[in-house]
Symmetry: C2
Subunit: 233 residues, 2 copies
DNA sequence: TTGATTTATATGTCTGCACATTATAGTCTG
DNA sequence: CAGACTATAATGTGCAGACATATAAATCAA
């Protein structure tokens, strides 16, 4: 019965984590109720609740009213990724960020894209392609389509002065987004741009953002070979 | 002054989100204090706190004592990935999971690995390589090293009957982990195993888990071409 | 002017209480 | 015995108040 030093919610959480990690409470087993734990730790029930709620959010505990709280059977580790502005990502690596616009023009989007976005076929969208550099070496290729219907004044933005990535974050709010990560071989054009051999394995992020069911932008970020996205559990 | 219908913390959170999304509160601007908002919404300060704390955790708000709360300037979108047991991941796709052990043997680990794990050089570790299938097609290659020092009884586990992935999740608790995602070209061996052309771009997850500073296992998961990891913001 | 100290303020957390919500388990009834 | 109803037990949420803590801003001293 090792009572945590402090009866703060962090102390209680640490103690609960210890009991789970050290198999004092086995996966799938029922743990004492909030009220009982509050008595044991000599604190208010709300404090125990605070500690346990976070653990439930993290997937370590399964909680149901009346049924009680159980240690999760399959603790799916939950990973949190922070996706920053590209400029900041480069600068955080201690490299100098540079950006160059390749193309910016209104074009009819492909059927694959419009259908995925729920737009009328042959909708005109702004197609912006650009390259981000870290210390003068290609870092990633940004291939973006912007919904002109939702953001008509984007036509007049000079994307050689500010990256589309940054302009959108500051000017186009979104309420939801779909992201997918994958690996792709570099085609001839990308290989040339990224200064990589053709067929090189590239880390790719595809992202579509929405503002209440209306698509804002669809982007594909293709990173130069060697890129790693790191995080902790 | 649209007061949210309910003065539950969710209602308040929704209203705050609306004000941010609709640019009523601009990025970087100071928002009213908890006390003021509590008065405005006619609720307790704790309720406002609950709503705002979650938004701060999500990176939408920056909060500092005395300085107050500001709308985040660079709303780094925070993505949450659930990394399930491989078997469950395959089954969730509606495919049949199958598993085959390639190799399981105690070997001295490479210097690169031992130094990364903080183990003595030439430490013996259990090297387990296996292949996971979805509907009889190669899904991913699991290349794992297990710390025999920490888990000596793992020598006697039959990894042809249970996957190392699953056994470890159920038997080896960990307190921290480092994960990195990248893209790699398939070498001859992997290409053969995954039934892919040599050089094909593979999505790769490297993960090291720790139990209080002691390494538990290091694993590289190489997914067959075409794999995408999806999530939402 | 500059550096140290104090003060005021916003957030962070805890308490004790109350009621709401949900789902289990038991009971009653036809 | 089956199905409907009811009591109960756990979590979910809210409130008012209190104190803790960090820190920006103001004040004071050299």
């Amino acid at each position: 019965m090792t009572i945590a030093d402090t009866n703060s919610w962090r102390g209680i959480q640490a103690e609960l984590l210890r009991r789970i990690n050290e198999r004092e409470w086995l996966p799938g087993s029922l743990v004492p109720s909030e009220a009982d734990l509050a008595i044991e730790f000599g604190c208010a029930r709300a404090t125990v609740n605070r500690a346990m709620r976070e653990m439930a959010d993290a997937g370590l505990l399964d909680r149901k009213r009346k049924a009680g709280t159980r240690v999760a059977l399959h603790p799916t580790s939950r990973v949190v990724l922070d996706i920053p502005i590209i400029r900041l990502e480069v600068e955080q690596r201690g490299a100098e960020w540079r950006y160059s616009l390749i193309e910016s023009s209104a074009e009819p989007a492909s059927l694959a894209l419009t259908s995925r976005l729920g737009l009328p076929r042959d909708s005109e969208m702004l197609h912006v392609r650009s390259l981000h550099y870290a210390d003068n070496r290609p870092f990633l290729h940004e291939d973006r389509w912007i919904n002109l219907d939702l953001l008509p004044h984007v036509r007049s933005v000079d994307f050689s002065a500010i990256s589309a990535n940054e302009w959108l974050i500051q000017n186009a709010p979104y309420t939801a987004g779909d992201i997918s990560f994958s690996a792709m071989g570099a085609d001839a054009g990308l290989a040339d741009l990224l200064d990589a051999p053709e067929g090189a394995a590239l880390f790719v992020i595809d992202r579509i953002t929405w503002d209440k069911d209306r698509p804002v932008t669809a982007v594909r970020l293709s990173y130069a070979p060697g890129y790693r996205m790191n995080t902790k559990i």
